[in-house]
């Protein structure tokens, strides 16, 4: 999730200056989401350069002038296509554990069972903690945060079910032998081999 589209989405509601954007961002998106004012300012500058936002200078008595930003037509089109493009979850996040697990199957100082166990311990401890955070969260004031926690819960649950599946497959995995790569023909090929007869 990027700051860029968040700002465009907020400016679509009505024009705002930088400070107001910062305040809105934390209330609308998620109280836990800590975006620095500097990050908002630099993003606004880049959006202005790309002609996705524009601003008017507002003069205030006894205070420095401030820029009130609004979304341009181009910005609106950009926002629309962002809303309609699907977000694809990065399943490669699981790679690190997958590699560890399959390597443990070929033999090593630690058994595959122990590798699964260590992973399961960590996942359950995280799930326990997410559950605690969920119970502490107030549905009246922290609904977006609860959504995020629910997502974490369900992903952890899926990971745990996958560990369970790995465990159930362990006996088969231990017997499993990967298909041997066909030996490369060396020298002048014999007729029979060339015809694919073994």
């Amino acid at each position: 999730m990027s700051v860029k589209y968040t700002l465009l989405a907020l400016l679509y509601q009505h024009p705002m200056h930088g400070y107001e954007l910062g305040k809105q961002l934390n209330t609308v998106v998620n109280a836990e989401w800590d975006v620095k004012p500097g990050q908002i300012a630099s993003t606004l500058t880049r959006l202005k350069e790309a002609n996705l936002v524009d601003y008017e200078v507002e003069e205030i008595d006894d205070a420095p002038d401030r820029k009130v930003y609004c979304i341009t037509e181009e910005g609106q089109r950009e926002l629309e296509s962002w809303y309609l493009s699907a977000e694809v979850r990065d399943y490669r996040l699981g790679d690190a554990f997958y590699i560890k697990f399959v390597l443990s199957l070929v033999g090593g100082p630690v058994s595959a069972e122990q590798v699964l166990m260590a992973q399961r311990r960590e996942l359950f401890q995280q799930l326990h903690q997410v559950t605690e955070l969920m119970r502490e969260a107030d549905p009246q004031t922290q609904l977006p945060w609860i959504l995020l926690l629910e997502s974490a819960t369900m992903h952890l649950e899926a990971d745990l079910r996958w560990i369970e599946m790995c465990e159930a497959r362990l006996p088969a995995l231990k017997r499993y032998e990967p298909p041997k790569p066909a030996p490369k023909a060396r020298g002048r090929p014999k007729r029979k081999v060339a015809e694919g007869v073994e």
Binding site: M1, N30, E32, R120, H128, V130, L148, E157, E167
Partner: protein, 247 residues
């Protein structure tokens, strides 16, 4: 203080020549006020363990202590008195009596224990209120949703203020929202009333509420995972925050 303890607890099925070990020398200690989840694949012995702890089944060898009493040597009368006085049970299929109201169902263990009916009904009401079921006291089980029936069953398990509540797949027959409600009630019983709870489940989300998970496989404990007090809240807050920003 240890409130439940097993020593070399073993349960055999089948012929003596070809015994099948449902449980094989299991040693388990549960502290007072602790919430322990028991997990494991089908046939790993988790329900057998729970039934032995509850005196609903007898061990082939080994011991079970509830408080300071060795229940593995008790006769049937002593066991049923122990179950009435010291244990509360919650099952997958609620096991409420269909012709009685929620209140009467909850009062039943007290009435069987000789508590006068008006007092039993009053205590049943208090127990129903604890699980958020005060307004359903006069409903029959058929007039309650699955989650409400299970909460009534929980009120019934808690009404005698048992030393230990034993729950066998208490959410196994519920949708995920009702399941969450029931397990939150169970957690509340542990947090607020210091209830000791031992629960068998195959649902990771339910097990994650526990203080500790014991994993069984082929009748033995293969792993124990202490969940309480691991202090990963900051790590998770940060992770969720980071996912939100970068991605």
């Amino acid at each position: 203080m240890t409130i439940v303890r097993t020593e070399q607890l073993t349960k055999l099925y089948g012929e003596a020549s070809q015994p099948i070990y449902a449980l094989d020398k299991v040693n388990l200690d549960v502290e007072e006020g602790e919430f322990v989840a028991i997990m494991g694949p089908s046939g790993s012995g988790k329900s057998t363990l729970l039934y032995l702890l509850g005196g609903l089944d007898t061990p082939s060898s080994g011991k079970v202590w509830i408080r300071d009493k060795d229940i593995s040597v008790m006769n049937d009368d002593a066991l049923s008195a122990l179950r009435r006085e010291s244990l509360g049970f919650v099952f997958q299929f609620f096991n409420l009596i269909p012709v009685l109201t929620a209140q009467e169902n909850v009062a039943m263990p007290l009435i069987l224990d000789g508590v006068p009916r008006p007092e039993a009904l009053q205590r049943a009401n208090a127990s129903l209120a604890q699980v958020g079921m005060a307004e359903r006291a006069t409903h029959r089980p058929s007039e309650l949703s699955g989650g409400q029936q299970q909460r009534a069953a929980l009120a019934r398990a808690l009404v005698t203020k048992p030393a230990v509540v034993l729950a066998d797949e208490p959410t196994g027959n519920l949708d995920s929202k009702s399941s969450d409600e029931v397990v939150q009630m169970l957690r509340k019983a542990v947090d607020q009333w210091h209830q000791t709870l031992i629960l068998v489940t195959h649902d990771p989300r339910v097990a994650a509420y526990a203080d500790r998970i014991v994993f069984l496989k082929d009748g033995t404990i293969v792993d124990e995972n202490r969940l309480k007090g691991q202090g990963k809240a900051d790590q998770i807050r940060e992770q969720l925050g980071r996912v939100a920003i970068s991605g």
